[in-house]
């Protein structure tokens, strides 16, 4: 990976929209009044990845894996402990003040909970207008036009502009949130579990809308989710996170067809398949146990206590993320052979 970094750093600007290098976020959880013992939750622990313009990178992992923290770090909502977040060739960590505010406006976010992500005391119009007003993009009649256009784009009737968020269903609220995120014409949108709070039939409405918008506005997405089904539809490449680390990152096809990391295999196998005839044919791998606390991660490979294939080496030596096959990075001492995927229609 390091070598790859060096090669790529020459032409960062042309190839990647976003590049994350050695990103770390430790939360201080020292106890006691005088903080005798320093202890940290290593929410994100040294991760590297890149996002190409126009693509969708899915980030998947279970609660506590650091995926949302990663999103918040890129969004500059949290201060990183270490590492670089390079957006269009500029390290965001080296910017400050007005410059940072400008650059940051090109990255927007769509949130998980459509009920808490909209201020209950603001009308739809004001919610969508806020980014435009904040950055003095438009005012008066022009502001009004832009807001209404955004409402059209996400499929909200213009007549809803004077209403309050509580008058809408979850799917409609998520559309409001999407309109707000689109207002500043961002290049990158971080989607933090945007459909997981919605009903199934509504989820696909929103996913389809997002795919449409991506094409229309040439958007790049980082799509964060706790499960593979949600990211599968929309992602080009997928990164799997476990306990603050990226354990595998590759194209969607390769990940589903031939996962290399045992955790990815477990994640794939855990997803219920909506076809009762496959019930007994399915080769179920059930990962035992719970995710350990990120404050006190296991030695060596962090997955080893739950890994069905773990060996001595896994307990001692931490595996690095390496390009095992072309465009297929994995952090595992003993990557899986072929035949662990779940695709039935290839």
């Amino acid at each position: 990976m390091e070598q790859l970094m060096k090669e790529d750093s020459k032409n960062v600007q042309t190839e990647y929209l976003l590049e994350v290098r050695g990103l770390k976020k430790y939360f201080d959880v020292s106890e006691g009044l005088f903080k005798k013992r320093k202890s940290f939750v290593r929410a994100v622990d040294n991760i590297d990845f890149f996002v190409k313009p126009g693509e969708t990178l899915g980030i998947v992992g279970e609660s506590g894996c650091g995926k949302s923290t990663t999103g918040n770090l890129i969004m500059q909502l949290l201060d990183k402990t270490e590492g670089e977040i390079i957006f269009e060739g500029v390290d965001l960590g080296k910017l400050s003040g007005e410059k940072l505010r400008r650059k940051r406006a090109e990255i927007q976010m769509i949130f998980q909970d459509p009920f808490s992500s909209l201020n209950p005391r603001m009308r739809v119009f004001d919610i969508i207008a806020e980014p435009l007003k904040t950055h003095h993009v438009a005012k008066g009649k022009e502001l009004e036009n832009q807001v209404y256009e955004l409402m059209d784009v996400v499929g909200l009737d213009r007549s809803y502009a004077r209403r309050y968020p509580h008058e809408f269903s979850g799917g409609q609220r998520q559309r409001i949130g999407i309109a707000r995120a689109l207002a500043l014409k961002p290049k990158l949108i971080i989607c933090d579990e945007p459909v997981s709070a919605l009903d199934v039939s509504i989820q696909s409405q929103i996913l389809n809308l997002m795919a449409k918008l991506q094409k229309e506005f040439n958007l790049t997405y980082i799509f964060i989710a706790h499960g593979l089904p949600a990211v599968k539809h929309i992602s080009d490449r997928i990164a799997v996170m476990y306990l603050g680390k990226i354990v595998e990152i590759t194209t969607k096809e390769k990940l589903f067809d031939q996962p290399l990391h045992p955790y990815t295999e477990g994640l794939l196998s855990a997803v219920p398949i909506p076809d009762p005839t496959l019930r007994d044919k399915k080769n179920r791998i059930i990962i035992e146990g719970d995710m350990p606390s990120p404050a006190n991660p296991p030695s060596g490979c962090r997955f080893h206590p739950r890994c069905p294939y773990a060996q001595e080496r896994c307990k001692i030596e931490e595996p690095k993320l390496v390009e095992e096959q072309q465009d297929h990075f994995v952090a595992c001492h003993f990557p899986l052979e072929e035949g662990h995927g779940i695709l039935l229609d290839k």
Binding site: S63, V200, I202, P274, L343
Partner: protein, 328 residues
């Protein structure tokens, strides 16, 4: 009624009497569960699936109330029995687990305390016996270091552990029916797989009937024998799991299936159902799905379809199938 039917719900109506009028959350639901059978009630938020389960448990709170129909548990109508009898039934014969296990456990008492209390309440066991049974149950649901967990407080446990504790508690009295309301929705997918596996095994070993309330058709496909699809308070389709997935008859069921992501297919096309579930206060005239149905005709906006049998053990509430089978 055959002897191996454990629960029979007939034309259940649970209404909420609010300031803004009567809201029919459950409006004429009929189904039965046999011994050892696992059934699923599927629907989105507002479909009435949770209220149905609460009605069976006798846990519908004011302003809601069972306004009509019968709930026969082993032949006895439990809508008519006293509160005391109902309490005895709950926990002993019918147990329930909920979506969010933290809120259903008392944070002030240890896990063991709560399990053994429920055992003592229902089984007349001594303190020591109850503790022994409780630890055994904890082991049975796959909790490592059961003795240690026994004396822990709920907030120290992970979500998956808490749900295991809830299941241990629910099963500690050998119920004949287990109602599981979205038992894995709040859990991570690898933990969900563990819990589902646990429920499968327990139902197989103890011949417990399970009524699973869920919105996840993947879980349904892996777990159950029979499916009831609910929409806006009514059953719209009712059949065995294989038929439902192979040959769904109601446009809503079809829509749900089409919008469910299929992890094992690369080239999936994600369809969706337009619009949203009508709020309980403003249910449309005619078929309740008419506002979202791509096949809706004039008739669907004026006349209400009945739940009718289109083939043996396959009931659908839709005008499309009025004159025999139609492919959708």
């Amino acid at each position: 009624m055959t002897t191996d039917t454990i629960l029979e719900v007939k034309d259940l109506k649970t209404y909420f009497y609010t300031e803004n009028g009567v809201i029919p959350s459950v409006d004429g639901v009929t189904f039965d569960i046999k011994k050892g059978e696992t059934i699923a009630i599927v629907g989105e938020s507002g479909s009435g699936k949770s209220v149905t389960s609460l009605s069976i448990m006798g846990l519908v709170g004011s302003p809601g109330k069972v306004a009509g129909g019968e709930i026969l548990f082993e032949g006895k109508d439990i809508t008519k029995i006293s509160k005391r009898e109902m309490r005895k039934l709950r926990g002993n014969e019918i147990a329930m687990i909920f979506q969010e296990p933290l809120t259903s456990l008392n944070p002030l008492f240890t896990v063991g305390n709560q399990i053994s209390e429920s055992i003592r309440l229902h089984q007349k066991a001594s303190k020591e016996e109850a503790k022994k049974i409780a630890i055994e149950m904890l082991k049975k649901v796959g909790i490592p270091r059961a003795e240690k967990i026994y004396s822990s407080h709920p907030h120290l446990l992970s979500g998956g552990m808490r749900q295991r504790v809830m299941i241990a508690m629910a099963l500690s009295c050998n119920p004949k029916l287990l109602i599981a309301d979205e038992p894995t929705t709040a859990l991570d997918v690898t933990i969900q797989a563990q819990i589902l596996e646990l429920m499968r095994n327990l139902s197989r070993e103890n011949d417990t009937s399970i009524m699973l309330i869920t919105h996840d058709l993947g879980v349904v496909a892996e777990m159950v024998d029979k499916v009831i699809v609910m929409y806006a308070g009514q059953v719209v389709e009712h059949t065995d799991v294989y038929t439902l997935f192979k040959d769904p008859k109601h446009p809503y069921t079809k829509g749900l299936l089409d919008s469910t992501p299929k992890i094992h297919e690369l080239k999936e096309e994600l369809q969706s159902i337009e619009g949203t579930v009508p709020p309980p206060g403003s249910i449309p005239v005619g078929c309740r799905f008419n506002t979202r149905c791509p096949y809706a005709t004039e008739k669907c906006f004026s006349e209400t379809p009945e739940l009718t049998e289109v083939s043996p053990n396959h009931q659908v509430r839709c005008w499309l199938h009025e004159e025999g089978e139609v492919a959708i």
